[in-house]
């Protein structure tokens, strides 16, 4: 009797698996319990074992392809057994099992996040190569190994991307509640059957805010300032950021002696050549980004988009918040042009005169609080961007040069990295380049 080989739930939270490698070939005799294939789950690479004896007659799922739990991936049967009916039922099974999850069509390469394309430097990843699944939740420590709790109303996994740009699965009531409350269903984690968004998810999403608010102080202690639209947008965007984005931070310090000399020389050449430290830093970051497309990238849920052009967002403080106008093609512009544009955009931002196409479309961002005397800080990633560089104050600091303590102009900059896109070493190499350019500013000109 034939045994269907199906994608099994190899971890309690696994919904789909990527078949990394078939260990058995078609025609191989297999015994119950023998390893058939290696499957990458949301956590690790696991072994898929035979549930019956016989011959591995058919490998339905190809290596590198992904299938939801329950889908037919192969057939074990006697050597002469007719397995046609099992195989013909496979697509149907795939369809029903597919549900909201990504079902790999047999012909398409299925890995959600493709391995580095040839040509791009291979990241010296310190991470295990398990991050190919969509947002891989940290393993929730199950209540008991034998019986994980049924998926109840409090899932902690990040919101999975909704595939194919399709709308998330939701109940009619949930849709009605969400539209009434102005909630975007795409930002709600579903806990219903197959991850469908149901009423309790909408309620959880819309009460999360108020319940977390601090207890009001006595009247008179405070002034209630109503939220402006921009404030609301900031809150929404930043909450979106710190929650589901696994961020880490890298800090680098650069010596600005030569940059200061350059600035000095340019100022001496005439007022029209005057540039700020920030302008030079922006230019250095933009130039480095052009060389590091793996950093100049967006996380798109099911893929990473690396940009060939550098559109640098520049955080500008304004009266009731901040906004990030964009220096388009910042890497291709001359320092003077960039400086002028940065000044213009900042002025427009403060006057609230920016048009939407001036503050959307950035590929990466820079924030600078140096003018406030902040030595170093971390900035929050502006999704779907995968990094932001936070620039501190340019300060004179004692440093050791050739065994002597000397005073040098120094700056510290910290990059927040979305670990789903940027690994430690990748980010470090990028910052090294930024530092090299700031320490040898002629490289920017080159």
């Amino acid at each position: 009797m034939a045994t269907k080989v199906v994608m099994e739930a190899l971890s309690p939270t696994m919904e789909e698996g990527r078949l990394v490698k078939w260990v058995k070939n078609e025609g191989d005799t297999v015994a119950k319990g023998e390893v058939l294939a290696e499957v990458e789950t949301d956590k690790a690479v696991m072994e898929l074992v035979a549930r019956g004896d016989g011959v591995l007659r058919k490998r339905v799922l190809g290596e590198g392809q992904t299938a939801p739990v329950g889908q037919l991936v192969g057939v074990i049967a006697a050597a002469d057994e007719d397995i046609g009916s099992i195989l013909s039922s496979a697509p149907a099974a795939a369809e029903t099992a597919g549900g909201g999850a990504a079902t790999a069509a047999p012909a398409t390469p299925a890995a959600p996040a493709a391995p580095p394309t040839p040509g791009t430097p291979a990241p010296t990843a310190t991470q295990a190569p398990a991050a190919t699944q969509a947002p891989s939740a940290p393993a929730p420590s199950g209540p008991a190994p034998t019986a994980p709790a049924p998926s109840g109303p409090a899932p902690s996994a990040p919101v999975p991307p909704h595939e194919n740009g399709g709308r998330p699965r939701s109940s009619p009531l949930a849709r009605r509640l969400a539209s009434d409350r102005g909630l975007d269903l795409g930002r709600v984690q579903g806990s219903g059957p197959g991850g469908r968004i149901i009423k309790r998810d909408i309620e959880a999403a819309s009460t999360a805010g108020p319940s977390a608010a601090p207890r009001p102080a006595a009247a008179g202690d405070y002034t209630d300032v109503p939220l402006t639209q921009i404030r609301k947008t900031i809150a929404r965007r930043l909450t979106e950021s710190i929650g589901p984005i696994p961020t880490f931070y890298l800090t680098m310090e650069a010596d600005l002696t030569r940059t200061a000399e350059l600035r000095q020389a340019m100022t001496e050449a005439g007022n029209e050549f005057k540039v700020s430290f920030n302008d030079i830093i922006l230019k250095a970051v933009a130039t480095a980004l052009a060389r590091h497309p793996e950093v100049n990238a967006h996380w798109l849920g099911d893929r990473v988009r690396q940009f060939h052009r550098v559109h640098l967002g520049m955080a500008v403080a304004i009266e009731d918040g901040l906004i990030t106008p964009v220096l388009f093609d910042a890497d291709r512009k001359g320092l003077g042009e960039l400086s002028q544009e940065a000044r213009d955009l900042a002025a427009k931002a403060r006057a609230r005169k920016l048009t939407p196409n001036e503050y959307t479309g950035s590929t990466f961002s820079v924030s600078n609080l140096g003018m406030f005397g902040i030595g170093q800080f971390t900035a929050i990633i502006n999704p779907p961007e995968s990094g932001i560089v936070a620039v501190g104050a340019v300060e004179e600091r004692p440093v050791v040069v050739d065994g002597q303590v000397v005073v040098r102009k120094r700056v510290r900059f910290t990059m927040s990295c979305d670990h789903r896109v940027i690994d430690g070493a990748t980010g470090a190499r990028f910052l090294q380049d930024v530092r090299r350019m700031l320490e040898n500013p002629l490289m920017i000109v080159y």
Binding site: A9, P12, T13, M14, E15, R51, V69, P143, A144, T146, A147, P148, A149, P150, S151, G152, S171, P172, L173, A174, R176, L177, D180, G192, P193, G194, G195, I198, K199
Partner: protein
């Protein structure tokens, strides 16, 4: 001594369904059951009672056949025959479960089980021999519940005059007079059966209405219908005392301050069931009970002892077969680690009472919404305005839907009338999947059907009913 992944103690609708699901998921499974497979549901509850209710329904129909142009001469009612048929149906169903066990290679351990150490179960078989079996993954207590008397008023079950549902199911003939104490589902169903077989029935309920858990309007409609059928309905009544004789019982009943006496041939005590938690070794195993005497479980259906789970009646109300079955399935799928196992939706368990007219409901009653201070709107449609109900001459009852005034969420649904227990599922599906009254109406309902009354009730809630 044999070893299994999972052993269930009790083969009722919770245990046997859970066992089948475990087997489907590849676990070796055994069920300890001393009587027949199917438990109370198949042998002493749902199934035989419904078989008798079918006889009752037929009896009523035949007697009213003349208006339909069908006159049956010399209609003879014989409860004994109806009873034997109901036993045969039960046996058939029980055999059906045996067949399912064979199909799924589930072992039936015949005997009485108890917990014996951390991962094992001792089974005493008919010869009194004890065998120990190992449960590698889980032990599931699904021992169900049993009938109980009312000793506090002198109504100890005695198998002759003071009976439980177990005994009335095997009566050879319908008594001339009967008092049914407790007007829950069991009480109302047997009042219906015996009334149809010619017994003068007095139905006594301590609370102010029949089917106290149902919506008050539904209870009132049922009381009206029962009274029309000459069932003596006494609500808000307390049993003062009971004198149990050899062939009769005399009850003293206090109704609204007045004392009445009533002498009947049989008393059926239908005031509730007690969970079977005795002699299972629960205490030694560390399995705790709730204040009400049920086994304490969490959302995973796990008891306070590791590796021991409880499902069905013994794990708490509502004591309904379908609730137990669902717990069995959720248990099995959770144990197997299936993704997206939905917890048992305790707030969406349908209630069904198979008396005539039938009563079915899901969700909140109007009173519960008032008590909870939840805003609602009511949509109601009477079967007297439904074409199909008229053709069948069954115009009693109505559909009542309680919906959120803003979003149309179905908060509660109540149906009384012919086939109510079948009709309710449209609204159970809708509610479980969060369809609102609008989606229910959007689906075209065939004409003429009783289900049209549901669509009309949703329309009524939206202020645009067509046929009323």
């Amino acid at each position: 001594m044999a070893s299994y992944d999972v052993i269930f103690l009790g083969g009722g609708p919770a245990g046997y369904v859970g066992a089948i699901r475990c087997a489907q998921l590849g676990m070796s499974t055994a069920v300890v059951e001393r009587e027949g497979l199917g438990g109370t549901c198949v042998l002493w509850g749902c199934i035989p009672a419904k078989a008798l209710l079918e006889s009752a329904s037929l009896a009523v129909h035949v007697q009213h056949g003349e208006a339909f142009g069908v006159t049956a001469g010399n209609v003879k009612l014989d409860y004994g025959v109806a009873m034997k048929r109901s036993r045969a149906v039960s046996q058939q169903n029980s055999k059906g479960v045996e067949f399912l066990f064979k199909k799924h290679k589930i072992t039936w351990l015949k005997g009485t089980g108890r917990l014996a150490g951390k991962k094992s179960v001792a089974v005493k078989n008919a010869d009194g021999k004890d065998e120990t079996h190992e449960a590698k993954k889980a032990i599931v207590i699904s021992t169900g519940s049993r009938v109980r008397g009312l000793p506090q008023v002198g109504l100890e079950l005695n198998k002759t005059t003071v009976l439980s549902s177990d005994e009335v199911l095997v009566l050879e003939r319908a008594p001339k007079t009967m008092a049914v104490i407790g007007a829950g589902a069991v009480g109302c169903e047997f009042a219906d059966v015996f009334s149809a077989f010619g017994t003068q029935v007095t139905l006594i309920e301590v609370l102010p209405s029949l089917l106290p858990l149902e919506d008050a309007e539904v209870s009132a409609e049922l009381a009206r219908s029962f009274k029309k059928r000459k069932i003596d309905v006494v609500t808000g009544a307390k049993i003062g005392s009971a004198k149990v004789g050899k062939d009769s019982v005399t009850l003293t009943i206090d109704v609204k301050g007045e004392s009445k006496t009533l002498t009947v041939e049989k008393v059926l005590v239908a005031t509730g069931r007690a969970p079977n938690v005795e002699d299972l070794g629960l205490k030694e195993a560390g399995v705790q009970l709730t204040e009400r005497g049920f086994i304490k479980i969490d959302a995973r259906l796990a008891t306070t002892a590791e590796g021991i789970y409880a499902i069905g009646d013994v794990a708490g109300p509502p004591m309904l077969a379908h609730k137990g079955s669902r717990e069995g399935i959720v248990f099995a799928e959770t144990l197997a680690g299936l993704p997206h196992v939905q917890p048992v939706p305790y707030g969406n368990v349908p209630n069904a009472t198979y008396c005539h007219p039938e009563v079915a409901s899901v969700g909140f009653t109007e009173q519960q919404l008032k008590d909870k201070n939840v805003a609602y709107k009511v949509g109601k449609f009477p079967f007297s305005a439904n074409g199909r109900a008229r053709t069948a001459g069954e115009t009693e009852g109505f559909v009542k839907i309680l919906a959120d005034p803003k979003y149309g969420e179905i908060l509660g649904a109540h149906i009384i009338g012919a086939h109510a227990t079948e009709l309710i599922h449209e609204l159970v599906v809708a509610r479980e999947n969060e369809l609102t009254i609008e989606e229910v109406d959007l689906a075209i309902h065939a004409h003429p059907t009783l289900s049209e009354a549901i669509a009309e009730a949703t329309l009524d809630a939206m202020g645009r009913v067509i046929h009323a």
